[in-house]
Every structure is written in C-alpha cells, then in structure tokens.
C-alpha cells in the first residue's frame, strides 16, 4: 500500500488575532491511496487547520507534506494550481460554501474553466454528467443554490469538487450539518463515488458516531496533536487514549 499523502510534524500557527481555526502543533499522518482516514476531535483541536494546510489554504509554519511523492508545502504559482486539480475539498455548510449569486451550472463549471479542461460545449456536457452522478438532474444547471435543500446543496458542492477530477478529497465536516436521513444518503453517495473513481478521503468530524461506517482508520486529535490512530474497529472496541475513550463514552447509549 503506497501512501498518497504523507505529513510529518505539521505546525500551523496563526499568530495573534482571533478569527482563526485552532492551531496545529506537530501532526504526522499518512493516508494510503483509496482509503478513508477520519480525523476526529472536539472544537479547538485543530482538525480543520490540518485539512486547510494540506490544501494550502493556510500556510504551514513547519513540517513536510508529500503528496504522491512530491513536496507540496512550498508549491506556488502554476505548480500549486496543478496540485489543486488533484486535491479538492467539501466544506460543512454548503449554504456558505456555494456562491449565492451563481447558478449551479456556473458553480460546477468553475473548476473546468480555471483548469481549461474542456471546450464550452463539452463543458456543458460534463457539468450535466457530474450533476447526474451526484444525484441531481441536468435541469438544475440554471437554478440558484437557495432553491435547493441542504442535502442537494451538498451534492452540488461535491459535483464542484469532482469537476476537476481530483484523486483526493478533504471532507471537512461534510455531513455534520445534514439531517440524519440525508446524511445517510450523502454518505452512501460518497462511498459510491470512492469506489467508482478510486478516491482517497480525509474525513474530518467532531463526533465518533459519524465516522464508524465510512472510515478505514481513525485519528483522534486533541489540542493540536494526534493522540491516537487506529483501525476503526479497534478504536471503537478498545480505545487507548483518554480522549478517544471520552468521545466514545459521549455517544448516547440508547436503551434498546
């Protein structure tokens, strides 16, 4: 199994100021091609910052990040843009992550246009295919995000990410804001896409219960560090760190 992503001693430090995600204080992790690594931690643990640093949306202060063998921590200009074709992101709140003034067709097409992946006519066709792949219809291209439900919006965000044909997706609390029933459908969609396209996922969540069904392995974060990494089944049956034990204990025990 080859590592698609290999991170060593990642540090993210925002300095003074307050409107930032939490800092990261020396995180190392590897993700193998085709697997799903869940990164779980409470608010302030730094899990979101790890995802953003990998995508180079925030600048890491120290550490190395290798993606498919190349160092991505210092990429710039064209090389950075080419990397962004390979690694994409889906955020928690599709209401915030979709430009409310753009039509769905233009939102999904934006990546295709930036990377000049298709002519105009072919681009249309590709957008249609993508929308159908995520469970929407070709007729939706002319509508605005606010005309859709939360689950449908998240499907639009997934289609936008897939438009540049990435190998790696950061799912930053991508299903946390969805209703339980919709969440299950979107998780099924993500699993289907992973199988069909050979995708690798970094699945960020604040709640262990949410990752049990999708994760291959789970890494638990606390105060900017990873305190435990284990196969999903192992972590749920025998959590080693107090943080993992607390997260597991917090799942309500329904009296069946």
């Amino acid at each position: 199994m080859t590592a698609l992503l290999d991170i060593r001693d990642l540090v993210v430090d925002y300095g003074a100021g307050n409107a930032h995600p939490a800092a990261v204080d020396g995180v190392s992790l590897t993700i193998a091609r085709g697997e799903t690594l869940a990164l779980v931690g409470e608010s302030g643990s730094g899990k979101t910052s790890v995802g953003r640093a990998i995508l180079r949306l925030v600048e890491p202060a120290a550490g190395t990040m290798r993606f498919d063998g190349t160092d991505i921590s210092t990429l710039a200009g064209d090389a950075l843009r080419r990397f962004r074709r390979r690694a994409q992101v889906v955020f928690q709140d599709p209401k915030a992550s979709l430009d409310p003034r753009m039509r769905v067709g233009d939102i999904v097409r934006e990546g295709i246009a930036i990377h000049r992946l298709a002519s105009h006519a072919k681009g249309d066709l590709r957008v249609t295919h993508l929308l159908e792949e995520v469970g929407l219809s070709a007729a939706d291209v002319g509508r605005f995000p606010h005309e859709f439900s939360g689950g449908e919006r998240q499907r639009i965000a997934i289609a936008r990410a897939l438009a540049v044909e990435p190998e790696f997706l950061v799912l930053d609390e991508a299903v946390s804001a969805l209703d339980v029933l919709v969440r299950r459908q979107v998780l099924e969609l993500l699993a289907r896409l992973q199988a069909a396209r050979g995708l690798t996922y970094l699945f960020i969540a604040h709640d262990l219960a949410a990752v049990e069904r999708i994760a291959t392995r789970v890494a638990v974060m606390h105060a900017g560090r990873i305190v435990e990494t284990a196969e999903t089944a192992t972590l749920f049956s025998a959590p080693a760190s107090p943080e993992a034990q607390a997260l597991l204990a917090a799942i309500p025990k329904i009296p069946w």
């Binding site: 307050n18 409107a19 930032h20 995600p21 939490a22 608010s43 302030g44």
Partner: protein
C-alpha cells in the same frame, strides 16, 4: 485600547498638518490679499503699500511665510485679522465658544430626541407610530438644514416674531442686565438655530437607532429575555438598547464633520457670530490668516470629537466571543 488612542492622536495630528498645508497652499493661488481693496487704489504710494505688506509679512516668499505661520501657530499666535482689526486669536476666542455652544446644544437635543424616536419606532414596528415617525424622519434627513433654517427664520422669526431673526443677544445695553436675564436672552437667540440643526441630527439618529434596534430585536438573547417574562419596554431598555447604542454613538463621530458644515450655513442664515459666520466674512474680505484659522479650528473640533466618539463607541461595542 491604549494603542488605539495613540493611533487616533497621531491621525488627528496628521489631519491638522494636512489641512494646514493644504489650506495655505491653496490660498497662494487665490488672487489678491487683505490689502488689495484698501491699498491698491491709485492714491496710495507704492512705498506705503510695501511697508504695510512688509509689516504683516506678505512680501516674503510663500515657503517662508508658511514656516513663520506654523512657527507662530506653535506659540498659539494665529496672526492678525486685518478685516477685523484684531488679532486672529481674539476673533477666534470669541467665535469658537459660540459655535461649540450651538453645535453642542444641537447634538444633545438631536441625540436625545433621535434615540427616543428610534425606541418608539422599534416598539411599534410597522404600526402607525412607526410609519408616521418614519415619514417625518425621512423628511428631516431629505430636507437640507439651510432650507429648514430659512423657513424657521422667516415664519417663526420675521413673520410671527416668536424668536429673534439674527444675532446672539438683544440690541441695547445688555451688559447691564442681570446674569439670568442675559442667559435667558442667549437661550432665546440660540433656540431657533439650535433646534433647526437638532432636527437634522435627530432625524439621522432616529433612522440609525431604529435600524440598529430592529437588528438587535431579532437576536436570540432578546428571545431569551422575553422567555424570562420581561415586559416589552424592559426588553427594549435593558437588553436591546445597550446592544444597539454603539452604531449610533459611532454616528456621532461620523456626523460631526457634516454637522459643522451645516452649522456654518445656519450661522450665516441666523447671523450667529460663530466660526461659520467668521469664515464667510473672512472669505469675502480675503483675510487669509482668519480663513486659515477658521478652517483649521473647525477641523480641530471635528477631529478631536471624532477621536473621542471613536474611543467611546469602541468601549460600548458588543462583546463577542472568539470564533472557534
């Protein structure tokens, strides 16, 4: 907080330097000087002209005059106002307190009335008191102050003689009047210009106060307050107003420059002998030292007041947690 105050002070100093320089440079382009009218007649011998201009430094190169002016300024000397035959400092010392009185009273009246109107409008949102006051405040903002001043002076002053039409004191030997009578006389003269200015302020404040209150009334903590069983006025007064007053106080600083602009016109209409009237007279007489002093002082007042309100508004700004 301390850093903010220091930055504000530095900015205030920068404004003053910029204004002083700009006004001085601009006036160099202006044709004529204070002596043009009096001395450039054919009867005055050139030597006399030279002598008078030399006495007040008008024969020096502009750069040197600027340096001298700034130097004098640092010593509190503002030069000689030829059109008034008095030192500028004396003219200004008379005029500035009058303008401050006018603007201060207008601000106090305007903010008190505006906040009250905003509260009533928010309390009766979308019902008739809100609509009526909304129409009135809109008119109050849309109608230029000088027009309102003109109407008030003509009807309440000239036509119905309820108030004096001009000046700051009644004619006659008011100096011998008892103090309280002089004070009443001053108030009587102050009433119209101050109320006219206050109407514009109140209308603007009310519109902001209403909008700020309505914004705050949609907040969760207002719902909490209602769920506690508080009455509507108590909710408005104790929970909405403290959170909605910040933007309105910030308006104080932002509105002040335009209020001083408005006061200039109002002083002219009502013959109120403050800085505005002084400025107009000085402009007509091309009395440069006086013009410079007038513009500079008006700016000082605006800048200082803005810095103060900024600090106040900052200290009452809603407290929010860090975003995780």
């Amino acid at each position: 907080m301390t850093r903010r105050i220091v930055v504000r002070l530095l900015q205030a100093a920068a404004v003053l330097a910029v204004v002083a320089t700009a006004v001085f440079v601009l006036l160099q382009f202006a044709p004529g000087d204070p002596f043009a009218a009096a001395l450039d007649g054919t009867n005055v011998p050139p030597s006399v002209r030279m002598e008078w201009r030399a006495r007040y430094g008008f024969d020096l190169p502009p750069a040197e005059r600027f340096v001298r002016w700034i130097g004098a300024l640092a010593h509190g000397e503002l030069g000689y106002a030829a059109s008034r035959h008095r030192p500028v400092a004396d003219v200004v010392a008379d005029a500035v307190p009058r303008t401050l009185l006018l603007v201060g009273v207008a601000l106090a009246l305007g903010f008190a009335a505006g906040i009250l109107v905003g509260l009533v409008q928010a309390r009766h949102h979308r019902r008739w008191p809100d609509r009526l006051l909304g129409a009135l405040t809109l008119g109050g903002v849309a109608m230029p102050e000088f027009l309102l001043g003109l109407l008030a002076m003509t009807w309440l002053g000239a036509r119905w003689r309820l108030f004096p039409v001009a000046g700051i004191a009644s004619l006659g030997d008011t100096a011998t009047w008892p103090a309280w009578e002089r004070a009443l006389d001053l108030l009587w003269h102050l009433a119209l210009p101050a109320v006219v200015l206050a109407v514009g302020v109140a209308a603007r404040v009310a519109r902001h106060q209403r909008a700020a209150l309505l914004g705050v009334l949609g907040e969760d903590y207002i719902r909490t307050a209602r769920a506690k069983g508080l009455g509507e006025w108590r909710v408005l007064w104790h929970h909405a107003l403290p959170n909605a007053i910040g933007p309105v106080l910030a308006l104080l600083g932002l509105a002040l420059p335009s209020l001083i602009g408005g006061a200039v016109l109002i002083e002219r209409i009502f013959g109120w002998p403050g800085m505005g009237l002084t400025l107009f007279d000085a402009l007509l007489a091309r009395d440069y030292p006086l013009v410079l002093a007038a513009v500079l002082l008006a700016t000082v007042v605006a800048v200082v007041a803005r810095a103060l309100t900024d600090v106040v508004a900052e200290s009452v700004a809603p407290r929010r947690a860090r975003i995780p």
